[in-house]
């Protein structure tokens, strides 16, 4: 399949995206595509505009220029409701002010499908229930969301996003507030979703996460895309040192018979 061919079939096509806050442009034109069934990570230093670009894609910020196409359609003309059927946003865990049940929270993912009278249909219930089952957390359904651990809450928010039945799952540093074990749980569940055909775009701080679960990595620097490729191609010692301004070593380890995993280690010595 040629490059042009691939672009024509991409699930998400971002071209020349420029955006920012008020009049200040933060993202100066980025182009990339995301195929169906692909896991793409975006990495970059603080303030490089990766979160800003993500928000613009979700329709939360105005585009200064460029376009976002999802499933072949321009997003600029879509209302919130329609946009929410294409993109699901998985935010960092935070507590709502009221003790909603897990089922309530997941059902909120059906908002873009629910009618004016707020009647929840049997179909809505089934979809929400399936989302819980898909993540193996159906036993949490009747628990109070605000009383769950951070890792469980994050899984519930992922279930809510699945209940939106979106084309693309969008995550902004979903693991930032989770402990080491829960980070891997969330990432491996996300990887499992992608293996089952879903598509994920994730902003992360940790290059290791990209090694752990991404098919492709986008590297952003000062509002521009500076690299786009597989983790092994992109996450190199030179690239990471330039990006984060710290000494690193990218290493590859045998974790089991014939299974090798890569990691990006920060180095302590200044030499």
């Amino acid at each position: 399949m040629g490059a042009q061919d691939a672009a024509r079939h991409a699930l998400l096509e971002v071209s020349g995206l420029r955006t920012g806050y008020h009049r200040k442009q933060v993202v100066h034109g980025i182009d990339f595509t995301l195929q169906r069934g692909e896991f793409v990570c975006v990495i970059g230093a603080n303030g490089c505009g990766k979160t800003t670009a993500l928000k613009a894609m979700l329709g939360l910020l105005r585009l200064f220029g460029g376009s976002v196409r999802v499933a072949g359609r321009e997003t600029a003309s879509m209302a919130e409701r329609e946009l929410a059927r294409h993109f699901a946003y998985i935010p960092q865990v935070h507590a709502p002010p009221f003790p909603f049940s897990v089922a309530d929270v997941v059902l909120l993912g059906r908002t873009p499908y629910i009618n004016r009278l707020a009647t929840v249909s049997q179909r809505d219930r089934e979809v929400a229930w399936e989302a819980l089952c898909l993540l193996n957390i159906e036993q949490l359904a009747e628990r109070t969301y605000t009383r769950l651990s951070g890792g469980q809450q994050q899984l519930v928010l992922i279930a809510r996003a699945l209940a939106q039945q979106p084309d693309v799952l969008v995550m902004d540093e979903p693991t930032a507030s989770l402990d080491f074990g829960n980070q891997q749980t969330v990432l491996s569940r996300m990887r499992g979703l992608v293996d089952a055909g879903r598509s994920v775009l994730m902003v992360t701080h940790d290059p290791g996460h990209a090694f752990y679960c991404a098919d492709r990595v986008l590297v952003m620097r000062e509002g521009r895309l500076v690299a786009d490729g597989t983790p092994r191609e992109v996450i190199t010692t030179e690239c990471m040192e330039a990006l984060y301004g710290t000494r690193v070593a990218v290493v590859e380890v045998d974790v089991a018979e014939g299974v090798r995993q890569s990691a990006c280690l920060p180095l302590r010595c200044e030499s």
């Binding site: 935010p91 002010p97 059902l107």
Partner: protein, 366 residues
């Protein structure tokens, strides 16, 4: 649309069907018992309110009076006893009971909606300044001898100005959003209360001043069919708008960006909810003066019973608010020889009640 094909894995679907969906957890139904208790208690309180009073109406007389009013108007016109019963039921009790129900339900629903929209379990019409703003508006209306509808209009404008000012102040001081809004509401309330003092200062001490003073304490003693007529439409509009937004209120309580990403036009919903809640608050204030604490206590009580989901919480608040205020109003008019202003009672009952409920609810929060 092929975009969403492939979401269902057959294995998962199969497993999902094997495990029975828990109906209650998935918002399928409120337990029938809760519904029965809510509707039954309101009906019981309404019946009791018709019967009890300075002029007691026995149940048989009540039925007879209602029958005569609609099917036997000649008798009402000629018979003195029948006319007396008729006027007690239809000129005193009907407007009073209906208005108490509307005000109780209105303040409760407005309070619950404000709490969801501002993601803040501590706000209420009183705290946001809506009550103070509406009071100042209505006071000015009373001062200039305006008719009922104009007083209500003034109250509404006062309320909108106050809520906008409170929200604006919160943004301007950029403090913690939950406490900041409470702070903004307190500042605005203080401002509007001093405005009210000014109105009292210039009001005629022989008739206007006592009228305004007693009205501010909150009372249904002098409501009539005119008040009922003029407030019916704003009440119905307010209830309808808020009940139609109850799903969106759930989403809004997760924050603005998340709500938008979930497909809610937050700007429109916020505008609708603020307008409708303030409408309910101000029409209540215009009818009965300041009846405090309903908008804070009732939503928390309802939340303790049916949980925080607005789909169920909003109708529950409506029923609980109506029944509660009707009970309090009965106490106000029956407990002592001279009627106690209801605003005093709702505060007396509301404060300890709130402390209790809030402690209960807080257990599920953090």
């Amino acid at each position: 649309m092929p975009a969403r094909a492939g979401f269902r894995e057959d294995a998962v679907s199969k497993r999902a069907k094997e495990l029975v969906t828990p109906d209650v957890a998935f918002g399928k139904k409120v337990p029938t018992l809760v519904k029965l208790v809510l509707a039954g208690s309101l009906a019981a309180v309404v019946l009791a309110s018709f019967a009890l009073g300075r002029f007691a109406v026995a149940p048989a007389d009540l039925l007879g009076g209602v029958y005569n009013h609609f099917f036997n108007p000649e008798l009402v016109g000629s018979d003195l006893a029948a006319r007396k019963i008729d006027s007690v039921i239809f000129e005193i009790r009907v407007p009073r009971i209906l208005l108490v129900i509307l005000v109780g339900a209105g303040l409760a629903v407005a309070g619950a909606s404000y709490q969801g929209m501002f993601k803040n379990p501590l706000v209420s019409p009183d705290l946001l300044g809506a009550s103070a703003g509406a009071s100042l508006g209505a006071c000015l209306g009373l001062l200039f001898d305006q008719p009922v509808w104009a007083v209500q209009l003034c109250a509404f404008f006062g309320g909108i100005v106050a809520v906008s000012a409170a929200v604006g102040l919160t943004r301007a001081v950029r403090y913690d959003p939950i406490l900041g809004l409470v702070l903004g509401g307190i500042l605005v309330s203080t401002l509007f209360q001093s405005g009210m003092s000014l109105v009292k200062l210039v009001a005629d001490a022989s008739d206007k001043l006592p009228l305004i003073t007693f009205w501010l304490m909150g009372s249904f003693a002098s409501v009539n069919n005119d008040d009922l007529l003029w407030s019916l439409v704003p009440f119905v509009v307010g209830f309808a708008l808020l009940l139609l937004q109850r799903w969106q209120l759930n989403v809004l309580s997760f924050g603005d960006e998340e709500a938008r990403a979930l497909g809610v036009n937050t700007r429109r919903v916020r505008l609708l909810v603020i307008t409708a809640s303030t409408l309910l608050t101000s029409v209540s204030v215009a009818v009965a003066g300041i009846v405090g604490w309903i908008g804070l206590v009732i939503p928390h009580l309802a939340r303790a019973v049916v949980g925080p989901n607005y789909r169920v919480l909003l109708p529950t608040s409506l029923f609980v608010g109506a029944s509660y205020l009707l009970v309090v109003d009965n106490i106000a008019r029956l407990a002592t020889a001279v009627e106690i202003p209801i605003g005093i009672l709702t505060a007396l009952l509301g404060v300890p009640f709130f402390v209790f409920i809030f402690r209960q609810n807080m257990r599920g929060w953090r």
